[in-house]
Structures are given as structure tokens and as C-alpha cells.
């Protein structure tokens, strides 16, 4: 699961897709941390675009938790957006929607990160 990142102003949008479980958790975290560190350094945020994420196991949730802790330790910020219904339900049941700020769309997540990021996103969408 190679993470693709797109920059919008001081926010990074990272695409998470497929399934997140025990097997790919470590690779996911390692990849994600690169982006989190970078954005924390810039005083920005990371928005996880979960539109391609089909399923999260409990090991996958732990993975999100560790990312959350690591980001917190580095004063970074992770927001998530565009959850598929299955993943949204998992987030609701596990109340991980209280751990991360969850938004229906990436645009809304970016808007919560900074107005510049949202503006940059809109500009990219028009282009």
C-alpha cells in the first residue's frame, strides 16, 4: 500500500486504499509518518482520503491509533475524509470518529485544516 500524497497549500492529502489490517499496518504507518512529520514541520495537517479504503480490521484500527499518537507527539494533525459506509460504520462503532476529526469529503476536511488548503483544492478541481 504505497501512499500517494497530494499537496494543497500547507495540507497533504494522503490516499489510503484497499484493506488495512495486520499485514500492511507497519508499511502504512511508516509511509504515513513521513508525511505527518513533513506536515508537522510545516505547521500543516495531513488529510487521509479514505475513499478507496474498503475495510479496516481491529489491527487496522490500532494502526490508525498509533498514527494518531505519533502525530500527536510531533504536534501534527490528522484529519480523515470521504469514508466508505463500511469504514464509516467501523469508525462509528469503535468511536474512532472521536479520535480523528471525520469529514464526509476531502474538501470539508481540507477546509477544517485551513482555508488556504481548501482554496488550493478548489483551484486544482477547476483546473
Amino acid at each position: 500500500m504505497a501512499l500517494q500524497a497530494r499537496r494543497f497549500a500547507n495540507a497533504l492529502v494522503v490516499d489510503v486504499s484497499g484493506r488495512l489490517d495486520q499485514d500492511n499496518c507497519d508499511a502504512f504507518r511508516a509511509d504515513l509518518m513521513v508525511h505527518v512529520e513533513q506536515s508537522a514541520h510545516d505547521g500543516g495537517s495531513v488529510v487521509l482520503d479514505l475513499s478507496g479504503l474498503e475495510y479496516v480490521s481491529s489491527a487496522g484500527l490500532r494502526c490508525f491509533m498509533l498514527a494518531y499518537r505519533q502525530a500527536k507527539a510531533q504536534h501534527g494533525r490528522i484529519l480523515v475524509g470521504a469514508l466508505q459506509p463500511m469504514v464509516a460504520e467501523i469508525f462509528e462503532i469503535s468511536h474512532f470518529n472521536l479520535v480523528f476529526q471525520v469529514f464526509p469529503t476531502v474538501r470539508e476536511a481540507l477546509a477544517a485544516a485551513s482555508s488556504d488548503a481548501a482554496a488550493s483544492y478548489d483551484k486544482a478541481a477547476v483546473a
Binding site: S58, H95, L98, V99
Partner: protein, 643 residues
């Protein structure tokens, strides 16, 4: 080239061997009449003839005058000797490894010269078996009749050897030499070989005097039956100027040899073939470096296979082996066909196959050893996991015991562990006379760490439940604090905790990221009780877990589950899901006890999963509240039931 065969027919017609020498002399005379170039007899006349006139008196008593006149007659040996003189004839001698005083010295023959120490490793006989003096008087020369049998196959014949200090040629080269004339000399030649020279002939032989005979197919047309000659039934004119070999082919005379071409041919034919090969100058040479070359080929082939086998797959290795064998065999065949050079392709080929076989056996053994190791590892792991499972299961209370004398409630619990240890657990106990505490939890992760974490989480939750005053949410918050303190693996645990007041039916629920509880009011439908909650314990450092309250009606039941139920998968990788669970719960009868509820769900999940291996633990915890003690409806109720 002709072979005069003394065969079964001759024996049948002229009596058993040995014939009277006069009859042999008659045969020789008839052949001599045809004026062949030379003749050789592959027959030894080592003893005086029993049928000589002088010998008769030794067998039967005769009148003295008759015996005397018989003695005056020529012996039949002398008759044969005279007949032999009519044509240049080589007689057979057989080399003996012991000195025979009867035949001292060397058999008479032409001068024989050794050149350049050629005789140094020549086969050397101490003595020889010879014909009787009278027969031998007719011989122009002598030839050795030793065939070297190798594994029952005549490959090499002694073309030249030493008897005492003298050189003697084999019967075949000697026959040829008689025809072409010249003296014999043995010279060293290239490749550690020797050369037997006479006239213009250069016959290559090995250092020990043996030669590989270039055998051809046995040719019946070169045989003339002795009986036909004796009875005059055959025209001998074609024999003029030819080489003639006389010998036995009678089966009863046991002189058959198997040639490398696989035929059983009479021994005499070996000599005939050898003589023919010499005349046609078809020679086979096996140089002294041949064994070294074969060893080098074997080594190279073996090393190549040794290098290749671990690097290529089985099919390629076998192909390489086959290609190598074909190449070696082809090269040896070419050398034989084109240059008459003999190389042994069998040893390198067999050696290569042996190397290959051993490597295969070796890698097989290695693979087996690895499998064994994996099995042992798996067994050890399984042992540890079994231990973990036993720890996990041993920690779980049995509601039957815990609430054995509790009439107000029916409690049942079930935990079906997945094959790998999951982190589910549940607990239930009385906080005081009326309040029943329960918790169903799931530790993230699997295996031993999860199992140990689960044990500690369970005890922390219990102590928090027993000590924290106030809300149930506060219990979870305290538990989180405690668990967090020793959580090196950064595991988290989802937990659904509840406190049921058995008197009033008041239910408190606090949820830390766990599957919601299901509630079934009497006469109603089962519903998911989506109480407010928080993230799993240990995800966030601090979280104020909310507490939700719900008043149960007598007969109302609740079911707490783990995600092993909703996320149970079938072989099509579909989840059991909340909807199927709701349907399953809807079928449960109004009066079903806690055990029946749990069993029903378990059965439905099992049926849904089918052959699919459960990925996660399945935990079901059901409570049916019958009503408080003051409630008349539960006065006849029996004790709690559980599995």
C-alpha cells in the same frame, strides 16, 4: 578371409572331437589344395594323437608283428605336420602363467624385435601350451590365442605378448603377417600406445600388448563347414589367396564368446574379425590419456551440475543432465566413428547422474529438514498459543457458578476462540447484593501479547468496577488510566461495560469503542442500543466515557457481542453483519432463556460462516432480567442458566 568351421554337423558326420589327426590332415590338405595365402589353426594339438598307429597297441593287445609294423608307420601327428607344411600355417599357442618344462624356451617363429623399450609393460607369460612336436614341425609360425574377457565380453585380444623374453604375436596378426611376409617389430607410439609392425602394417596396441578389436557383424558367409570340405560338397577355389582360419564352432565344444556387439560368436570368429580388421586397417585406439580425459570430463560435468542444480528449477536441471549425457555419449561416438578412438562415455555420464542424484537427495533432505523445523516451530507455537488460550479461557468466569443462586436473572456467556488466539474476554460479577457488573471486551491484536494484555485489562477493569464510585463511565476512564500505565505494545481494548440493578432493572451502559449491545423488550423487536460512547481504552490518554441508562422491563433481555459475530465471514468473504444478527435475534422466542439466546446466535453465525475459518474470537453474553425479587412474576423462576 574364410573360417573353416568344425561344427556340430562335422562332429555328427565324422565322430566326436578329437578327431584322428589324419582326418585333420585330410581337411588341411583339401584346404591347401585351394592354395590360400595363409592359414591359422585355432586348435591346440597338445597331446599325441590317440589314434596314431603306434598308439593302438596301448589300447588293445595286438599280435607282436602287427604291433611292430604299426610302429613303423608314421604317426598321425606327423601326417598332420606334413599336411600343414603345404601352406604357410600359424599354429596356436596359449600363454601360461607358469613355466611348463615340456615346452622350454619360446615357440618357434619369425624374428621379433622390441624397439625403444616397447616391451616394458607388455603382458608376459612364463610358459606356453604348445602343439606336439610332430604337428608343430609343420607350422610356419605361432600365434597366441588369448582373448581377454571383460565382464564376459571379448573386447580386447592379446595381439602381442612376451613368452619368456621372446615376443609372440597373436594368432590374428600372425595370420596376416604370414600372408604378407616380413618380420615383426614392436615400436612405441603416440599416446602411450605401441605399434606392432610387419611389412607395411602398423597395428596399434596398448602398452600391455592387447588391442581393442573393431568388431563387425558376424558374417555367416565367411564360414565353410568342415564337413562340406571333407565330403567334397563345396568348391574351395574361392579360398585361393585368402586367409583361412580353422576352428571350432560346435556348441558342444564351448568356444563361444560374446563380442561388444552382443552376439555369441564362436571364438574362432574373434580371430577372424581381428585379422579382417588388421587387413582392412580398421583399428581402435585407446590412448593412455583416455582415463584422465574421462576423469576430467566427469569432474567438469559433475561441477557443472553441482553449480547448476541449486540455481535452476528441477526441469532445467534434468534437461541439463540429459543434454550433458547426450553430449558426452555423442562425442565418444564421434571419436570412435571418425578416428577409431575409444573413450568411455559411461563413467562420466553415470558419475554425472550420481552427482545429480546425490544433490537431489541432498536438497530433498534439506527441504525435509526445513519442513521438520517448521513443524516443530508450529508445534511450539501451537503449544504457546494453546497455553495462551487456556490462560484466556481459564480467566473467564462461568455464569452458572457466579449466579447459581440468583433467581432474578438468567445469564449466559460464550466465547469461541479463533484458531489463533484472539483477545476477546468477558467478565461478570456482583458489585453488591443487587448490582450485576458485566463487561465484554476485545483486545486489539492477536496471539500471546494480546492474551497477556487481556488478562491484565480484565483484572484492572474488575478492580476499577469494584472501587470506583459514581458512574460506569468513570470506571472505564479509571481502567484506561491503569491499563495505559503498562502498555508497552500500545495495544488497545474495546469494552462494553454494564451494570444491571437486579431489583429495579435499571441498566447502565458504558461503551469504549465496542460493538453496541442489543436489547429486546418483551413483545418487541431486538434493537441495537446505540448508546453514546468513546474510543477504545488506551487509544486516547484521557476520555470522559459517558454512561447511558435504560430501564429494563421484566423479561427483557440484552445481548452483548464481540465483532467476531458481526464480522464473521463466509467463504464468499461477506460479513454476517448487523442485519443478519437482527434477523437471527428476531427468531428468538419470547420466553427463551439466556442460554437459548446465545446458542441461537452461535448457530446462525456458524451456519453462515460454513467452511470459512473464523478469523476472530466470537463472544456472546446474554442477560435476561426476570424482574426484581418483589416482583411476583419471577417468584417461580429457576436459577440462572449458562453454558
Amino acid at each position: 578371409m574364410a573360417v573353416v568351421a568344425i561344427d556340430e554337423k562335422a562332429i555328427a558326420q565324422y565322430g566326436q572331437w578329437p578327431w584322428p589327426r589324419t582326418r585333420v590332415a585330410e581337411l588341411v590338405s583339401l584346404i591347401a589344395d585351394a592354395k590360400p595365402a595363409a592359414m591359422a589353426l585355432d586348435i591346440l594339438f597338445a597331446e599325441p594323437d590317440r589314434y596314431s598307429p603306434a598308439a593302438i597297441e596301448k589300447v588293445i593287445s595286438l599280435p607282436p608283428e602287427l604291433a611292430a609294423s604299426l610302429r613303423r608307420l608314421d604317426s598321425s601327428d606327423a601326417v598332420l605336420g606334413r599336411a600343414l607344411k603345404r601352406v604357410p600355417t600359424a599354429l596356436a599357442v596359449a600363454g601360461l602363467d607358469q613355466d611348463d618344462p615340456q615346452f622350454a624356451g619360446a615357440p618357434a617363429g619369425p624374428p621379433f624385435r622390441f624397439v625403444g623399450g616397447a616391451e616394458s609393460s607388455l603382458r608376459s607369460y612364463k610358459g606356453f601350451l604348445h602343439n606336439t612336436r610332430e604337428v608343430d614341425a609343420g607350422a610356419a609360425s605361432h600365434g597366441l590365442v588369448s582373448v581377454d574377457f571383460e565382464g564376459g565380453i571379448a573386447r580386447r585380444m592379446q595381439y602381442v605378448a612376451r613368452v619368456g623374453v621372446h615376443g609372440v604375436a597373436g594368432l590374428a596378426p600372425e595370420l596376416v603377417r604370414l600372408a604378407v611376409g616380413g618380420t615383426l617389430a614392436l615400436h612405441p607410439a603416440a599416446g602411450g600406445l605401441l605399434e606392432l609392425r610387419f611389412g607395411d602394417y602398423r597395428v596399434p596396441v596398448q602398452a600391455d600388448g592387447r588391442a581393442h578389436v573393431y568388431f563387425g557383424r558376424s558374417d555367416p558367409s565367411r564360414f565353410i563347414q568342415a564337413s562340406d570340405i571333407l565330403s567334397g560338397r563345396v568348391d574351395l577355389a574361392p579360398l585361393e589367396g585368402k586367409l583361412v582360419l580353422v576352428g571350432f564352432t560346435g556348441l558342444g565344444l564351448q568356444d563361444l564368446a560374446v563380442t561388444p556387439l552382443g552376439e555369441s560368436v564362436p571364438g574362432v570368429e574373434n580371430h577372424a574379425q581381428a585379422a579382417e580388421a588388421i587387413v582392412e586397417e580398421r583399428f581402435l585406439k585407446r590412448h593412455d590419456f583416455a582415463p584422465r580425459l574421462e576423469a576430467a570430463v566427469l569432474l567438469a560435468f559433475g561441477l557443472a551440475l553441482f553449480w547448476l542444480a541449486p540455481r535452476a528449477n528441477a526441469l532445467r536441471s534434468v534437461s541439463a543432465l540429459a543434454a550433458g549425457v547426450v553430449l558426452i555419449a555423442g562425442a565418444a561416438w564421434l571419436a570412435f566413428r571418425q578416428a577409431g578412438l575409444l573413450f568411455d562415455p559411461v563413467s562420466p555420464a553415470l558419475g554425472g547422474m550420481l552427482v545429480f542424484g546425490m544433490m537431489q537427495v541432498g536438497s530433498l533432505a534439506e527441504a525435509q529438514r526445513q519442513r521438520q523445523q517448521l513443524r516443530e516451530q508450529a508445534a511450539r507455537m501451537a503449544g504457546e498459543l494453546d497455553a495462551a488460550k487456556r490462560i484466556q479461557m481459564g480467566l473467564l468466569p462461568d455464569p452458572r457458578e457466579v449466579f447459581s443462586d440468583e433467581a432474578r436473572v438468567s445469564v449466559a456467556a460464550l466465547l469461541v476462540p479463533a484458531r489463533t488466539v484472539g483477545g476477546d474476554f468477558y467478565d461478570c460479577f456482583m458489585l453488591d447484593a443487587n448490582r450485576l457488573f458485566f463487561v465484554v471486551a476485545d483486545v486489539s491484536g492477536k496471539g500471546l501479547p494480546a492474551s497477556l494484555f487481556m488478562a491484565s485489562a480484565k483484572s484492572v477493569l474488575k478492580s476499577a468496577a469494584l472501587t470506583v464510585e459514581g458512574s460506569l463511565g468513570g470506571v472505564l476512564a479509571r481502567a484506561q488510566d491503569e491499563i495505559q500505565r503498562e502498555n508497552p505494545e500500545s495495544l488497545f481494548v474495546t469494552a462494553l461495560a454494564g451494570i444491571l440493578d437486579l431489583e429495579t432493572g435499571e441498566l447502565e451502559i458504558a461503551n469504549a469503542g465496542h460493538e453496541p449491545v442489543w436489547i429486546h423488550p418483551p413483545g418487541g423487536k431486538p434493537v441495537r442500543f446505540d448508546a453514546a460512547g468513546g474510543p477504545p481504552l488506551c487509544v486516547m490518554d484521557v476520555f470522559p466515557y459517558p454512561t447511558t441508562r435504560h430501564a429494563l422491563l421484566p423479561g427483557e433481555w440484552i445481548l452483548a457481542i464481540s465483532d467476531g459475530a458481526t464480522e464473521a465471514m463466509n467463504t464468499a468473504r461477506e460479513f454476517f453483519g448487523a442485519e443478519r444478527l437482527a434477523t437471527s435475534l428476531g427468531w428468538i422466542g419470547e420466553d427463551a432463556g439466556a442460554v437459548a439466546i446465545v446458542e441461537r446466535v452461535r448457530e446462525d453465525v456458524k451456519r453462515f460462516s460454513g467452511e470459512a475459518e473464523p478469523a476472530d474470537d466470537l463472544t456472546l453474553f446474554a442477560i435476561r432480567w426476570r424482574g426484581g425479587a418483589r416482583d411476583p412474576r419471577q417468584s417461580n423462576a429457576v436459577g440462572s442458566d449458562a453454558i
